[in-house]
């Protein structure tokens, strides 16, 4: 179960030195697809940036936007929400709800002046280890280009 402490422990503080700065990305992964996919990437020894801190949830439908705001507050430069492909949800429709929520929350962030690219979503199945590696690489590059959130 996710606790606020988990998010907090992942965070760090301190000033930002842009020459050595690497983005910090909190990834909320569903237990059934993306988490297994990320695991597969690891056991397949795929190389991808060490920028993500993974938080496992039962389903992307469990992702409350307050987790995302709290992540930003606690030091994340980007947040990635990843779950099963549409139709593959273990609970049949959690990812459909999550899709609407993330869409709207991105709009809200954008209106508040926070680049919506700091909140990313992906579908990564249990067998898509290489997609996971690619997603992390792409998201890292995109967030890196945006720079630190709290600079």
């Amino acid at each position: 179960m996710l606790s606020s402490n988990q998010v907090e422990t992942l965070s760090a503080s301190g000033g930002v030195d842009l020459s050595t700065w690497e983005p910090r990305i909190f990834a909320f992964l569903c237990n059934w697809c993306s988490y297994v996919g990320a695991d597969l990437a690891g056991t397949s020894r795929l190389v991808y940036p060490a920028t993500v801190r993974i938080i496992r949830l039962p389903c992307t439908g469990r992702v409350d936007p307050v987790f995302i705001l709290r992540s930003f507050q606690r030091g994340a430069d980007g947040v990635l929400v990843s779950g099963c492909h549409p139709g593959d949800c273990h609970y049949s429709k959690g990812n459909f709800y999550a899709r609407r929520r993330m869409l709207m929350f991105r709009k809200l962030l954008e209106f508040a002046g926070i680049d919506p690219r700091r909140l990313q979503m992906s579908w990564v199945s249990a067998s898509e280890g290489s997609k996971w590696a690619q997603v992390v690489t792409d998201v890292t590059n995109e967030v890196k280009a945006l720079g630190p959130l709290r600079a």
């Binding site: 402490n5 907090e8 422990t9 965070s11 503080s13 606690r74």
Partner: protein, 334 residues
Amino acid sequence: MEARLLDRKQLSPLVDALIADCEVIAPVDESSYHLIESASEMQLTQLKPAKSPKELVFPQREVLLRYALAGDDVTLDEPPPPAVADRVLIGTRPCDAAAFPVIDALFGWDDVDAAYFERREHTTVVSIACDQPCDTCFCTSVGGSPAGIEGSDLLLTPLGEGDYHVQVISERGQSLVDRYERFFRASDQAHNRERALLEDEWRAAIEQTVDLNEIEMADFESPVWETLAQACVDCGICTFLCPTCHCFDIQDEGDPNHGERVRVWDACTFYEYTRTHAGQPRPMHYRRYRQRIMHKFRYYPENMGKVLCVGCGRCIQYCPVRIDLRAVLEAVKG
């Protein structure tokens, strides 16, 4: 201490001279008092800022200590003492100034809140009398006056012919006048008399709805409380904007490993305020409303000898459903 006169045109130069020597805080817009860097930022309109100046001595968020955890070990650091700089609060209305001595009593009750008094002692309060009170003002009903001196170090009263009459109320006020003597002239009996007449005139302009000496609270169990609070939405506006409401919460904020223990304003109108695992002594909002009124007009006077209200009228003006404290006091007279 002898009164002075200050040409109204000299106010801005005086403020700029003060800014050169210390921090100056003044109303800057309709919502708050703020540090100013030039006299031109000062907004001396009739409307009091929404937020009272209590936050200058009792900030809404105040770090009490910082903690850091490493393994079994904890280190505690205290924040540096606040407001070491001398500062002048200028442009307060007499009601807001009068609130300071009222809450001094609380923060000095047996255990002295040192940070609070550190700020108080470094703050010189220069108030301006109200020549045009708002229609929500009721200072005269709770023992105040639109030209009251309570809590001020200096009181400026705008006189007819372009001068402020300057009452020197305290040692702090005297030292300010001494230091900036060049801006002031001596007052005389005629001006002093004019000031007194104006005060009487302005007092009369404020409808005195309740006589403080007659405030006789309805019984705790009276049904009037439920009726009065019917529309109350349980927000914190009245308490947060009030210059005398002082209740607070203490929270640890930050990581589990390092963070701050902060004191933050709280409101008796909030459900969470008294809720515990064991229940809620004030579950219905009329009970919370009754607590607020009783605290101000009965409990606080009983414990501290002062009414916890200066009649500034913010709770009326900003109430989402316009619950009128004057009406409440009238209704609970018994």
